[in-house]
Each structure stands twice: as structure tokens, then as C-alpha cells.
């Protein structure tokens, strides 16, 4: 059974403009899916349906077989979301407090919270900055704190909205390494981007969106061919007929 199912999902913005016009998508457990598309194609709106931040009006979203509309609290525990602007996501006065925020909301014991926070900070190599104040961190470090905050909630599905935006080269590599290690540890990953060059070599599947629809869905090497027509740049290696290359090599 797929861990995430979206059927016939439609959504309109408050001004009546269509945001999603019939999305069908199903994701298997452990899959690494990249969703690409130009700005305004509906990527973020789709993601916000996955954990019930936007309740589906037309269509269905199911997480692990349970409707998101029926149990949004469960969906939020299952689907951890890393937002595009890490600054707006970090709420704690220190790195440690921020990572503890989610587990505190789940009403866990203090000792359990401490264990989870320690493990999450170790997983993103931020243990040494536990007492640091978030506004003093670099862009890549902030994004890692945001990821740790989700890891501490032990969500099996992670959704990352444009995780590479505004990052310098070391920052991109840093976050990419984290993302790949999460994938190796069995997390289901959904990552949106309009810059495929940085991540596509590692993905299992590429979904291309445009105007609120899914335009392509398939293995990266095949789905990426001629993607320029949809407003996303095809990676250089693919243009030259070479295999996709990694930013980490």
C-alpha cells in the first residue's frame, strides 16, 4: 500500500484563481520523489495539503491509509515539513529549545524529549551548537536545525519545500548530505525545487508540475528530457546525453 495517496485534488486560491487542478499522486514508503516546476505552479499548495495545513475541499489525501481531512493531527505527526524560509520555522530561543518544540507539542516526557533532541541534533551534526541562538547561525545551519526539529518528531515522511534556496555552495552540499542520509535511513522524502541540477542525480522519481497539474511523472533520467518546455532548466549532463551527476562528487 502506498504511504501517501492523493486523488483528484483540486484547490482554488481565495481570489478564485486555480492553484491545483486535479492532482493524482501516490508515493511508496522509502521513495525519494523530487517535484519540480516553475514558481507559482502549485508545488507549495500541494505540499500543504499533505499534512492537512490546507484541508482538501475536492479530492482526497491519505497518509498511510488514513484520510488527512479526518485526522489532521495524525497527518502532522506522520508528515514532517521543512519550510522554504527556515527563519520563519525556527521558534526556539536556542537550537535545543527549537528542536524540542515539536516533541513538547506531542506531550512526551522530559527524558524522552531530551533523548529525541540529542539524537536529532547528532543526526544533523549540530550537537556543538545546541545552546546557540538561531539568528546567529548560517543559512545551511538554520536549515539543518529545521530538519532536526522535524526528525525529533520521528515523522516517517519528510517534505522539504525548496531546501536549497538562498544557500551558498557549502550550504547546499551540507543540506544535500543530510537529505541523502535521511533517505538511507528509510525516510520517505518529497522535495520540491526549480533547480534540478543540485539534487536530481539522487532521486528515485521526478514529478513535473505546471499550472496546478502533474505534467510528467517517472524515473529522473527519462522524465527530465526536454523539461525546459515546462519552465525548469534541464541539467547540463542530461542535455549532453551524459548520466546525471551529483553535487557531492
Amino acid at each position: 500500500m502506498p504511504i501517501l495517496e492523493v486523488e483528484g485534488l483540486r484547490h482554488r486560491f481565495a481570489d478564485g484563481a486555480p492553484a491545483l487542478s486535479g492532482i493524482d499522486l501516490s508515493v511508496e514508503a522509502g521513495e525519494f520523489v523530487v517535484i519540480a516546476g516553475p514558481n507559482g505552479c502549485g508545488k507549495t499548495t500541494l505540499l500543504r495539503h499533505l499534512n492537512g495545513l490546507i484541508p482538501p475541499r475536492t479530492g482526497r489525501v491519505r497518509v498511510d491509509g488514513v484520510s488527512v481531512a479526518k485526522d489532521p493531527a495524525r497527518a502532522r505527526r506522520m508528515v514532517g515539513m521543512v519550510f522554504q524560509d527556515a527563519d520563519a520555522q525556527i521558534v526556539g530561543e536556542t537550537v535545543y529549545d527549537d528542536v524540542a518544540f515539536g516533541p513538547e507539542n506531542l506531550r512526551l516526557d522530559r527524558s524522552e524529549i531530551h533523548d529525541r533532541v540529542t539524537a536529532a541534533l547528532a543526526a544533523v551534526s549540530m550537537t556543538h551548537l545546541a545552546d546557540q541562538r538561531p539568528h546567529l547561525l548560517s543559512g545551511g545551519e538554520k536549515r539543518r536545525v529545521a530538519i532536526a526539529g522535524i526528525l525529533a518528531m520521528r515523522s516517517p515522511i519528510l517534505v522539504l519545500d525548496e531546501p536549497f534556496s538562498n544557500l551558498d555552495y557549502p550550504g547546499v552540499r551540507d543540506v544535500l548530505e543530510q537529505v541523502l542520509s535521511l533517505h538511507r535511513n528509510g525516510h520517505t522524502l518529497i522535495l520540491t525545487t526549480h533547480d534540478l541540477e543540485k539534487v536530481l542525480a539522487h532521486a528515485d522519481r521526478l514529478v513535473v508540475m505546471g499550472d496546478g497539474r502533474i505534467l510528467r511523472d517517472g524515473p529522473p533520467a527519462a522524465a527530465v528530457k526536454g523539461i525546459d518546455a515546462f519552465g525548469v532548466r534541464e541539467p547540463r549532463a542530461s542535455r549532453q546525453g551524459l548520466p546525471l551527476d551529483s553535487w557531492l562528487s
Binding site: 521558534v91 513538547e104 524529549i113 541562538r133
Partner: protein, 251 residues
Amino acid sequence: MAELTAFGYRSGRSLLHRLDPRTKLISLILISIGSLGAGISGLAILLLLFGAALRTVHLSLSAIIREIRYFLFLLAVVFLTRALSAPGTPVWSVWDVTVTREGIYEGLLVSGRLLVVVLWGLLFVAVTRPSEVRATIIRLLGPVPLIPEKRVATMFSLLVRFIPVIAHQARETGEAQRSRGIEARRNPVFRLTVFAVPLMRRIFQDADELVIAMEARCYSEDRTGPDLSWRRRDRIALPAVAVLILVIRFL
């Protein structure tokens, strides 16, 4: 604004770090109240104790002085005003301006009291994690009716977190406007409006996103509460501070 938070928590393992934050906050309140009624000798004791406490937590006096340099200027103004305005025995006089013995004494007293409160307050901030301050607020507000202490605590932590972010955005907005020649405009109302409108719009947008991000992390007011433990050292420290304040009061 960012300078408000430049002086924050410094991690450490000293006795002051390990005391229960409730002990520290109540002691700070006691010291503040005590200093209001203290004489010069009482203030001197509090300042000496502050110096000793500073050594145990490995903070440098110069860092503190740098932090409160504007405040020291204010204290100097307070001292001068008192010294020049109070009637009494003249010590020194030029033209119509007379410095009196009583004036100097009163000036020292008033500025000394302010200084004691601020210095001990800074020390409290330096040895107490913001999360512990929040925990203390929850515990101390708990018995107060009609105050949702957990909501107050969340507001407190968001405030601490976002003051530097807002200060940064304000700086950026200011720079963007200076780079487009805002300084050539003389009208202060115009300048304030074009500064405040984009800044406020951005702050509200960020607040919207923050709400969504908190919701995505299952935020509710029914959360795990703070974990504070009252130990032997607290049972000794708090009465000790209380006795000290009484002694100072009657000195």
C-alpha cells in the same frame, strides 16, 4: 534593538548556573527591592557581591561595561542632576552652579540603586537559559487566575526569538531606502511611513508563515511543561539572599 539581546545566556557549570531558575528570579526580585531601601554601605555590599559572583561565572567586567555604556551615561546624567540641584552644604561652586555634599550623596544613592538592579539583572540573564526563564514564568504564573501561563510563555519565547530577526529586517529596509536616496527627503512623516509600511508588511507576512509552521509541528497549548527541580542548594541560597537583604535594609 539588536543590542538588547547581544548580551545573552553564556553556558557554564557554575553554582549560579545550576541554581533553580525560580531561586534566581526570586533572588533578583529581592535584591531589586532591597536595593531600593539600601544606603550607600548596603549598595557597596551588593556591588562587591556582584563582583564576586562575576568571578565565579567567568564573565569579564569589560564586557559588561561595554554592554551598559549608554546606561552608564544615563547614570552620569542622573548623578549630575542630583548633585547640582539638591540644596545643602556647598562643596564646590562656580558662578551660579553649586555642588552640594547632600547632592553628591543623593546622586550616588539614586544612580547606585539603578546600577545594582541592572547589573544583577544582566547577571541573571547571563546564567539562566531563556527556556528556564520561560519555565519560571509558567510556574510562577501558574497559581495566578485568569492568566493563561502557557500562552504567555509561548509569547515570551517567540519575542526573544524574533526581536533580532525584526531588527535585522528593519536594518535591511533602512539600507534599501538609503541606497535609493531617502536622506534627500526632509519630511520625517514621509520617511517614517515609507519605512514602516514595508517593514510591517514583511513582519505580518512572516508572522503568518510562523503560524503555519507552528501548526505543522502540532502546536497546542496542551504541551509538555517545564521540568524544574528544587534542590538543597536552592533551599540554602534563597534564605541566604533574604537574610542578606534584611541586613542591608537595616544597615
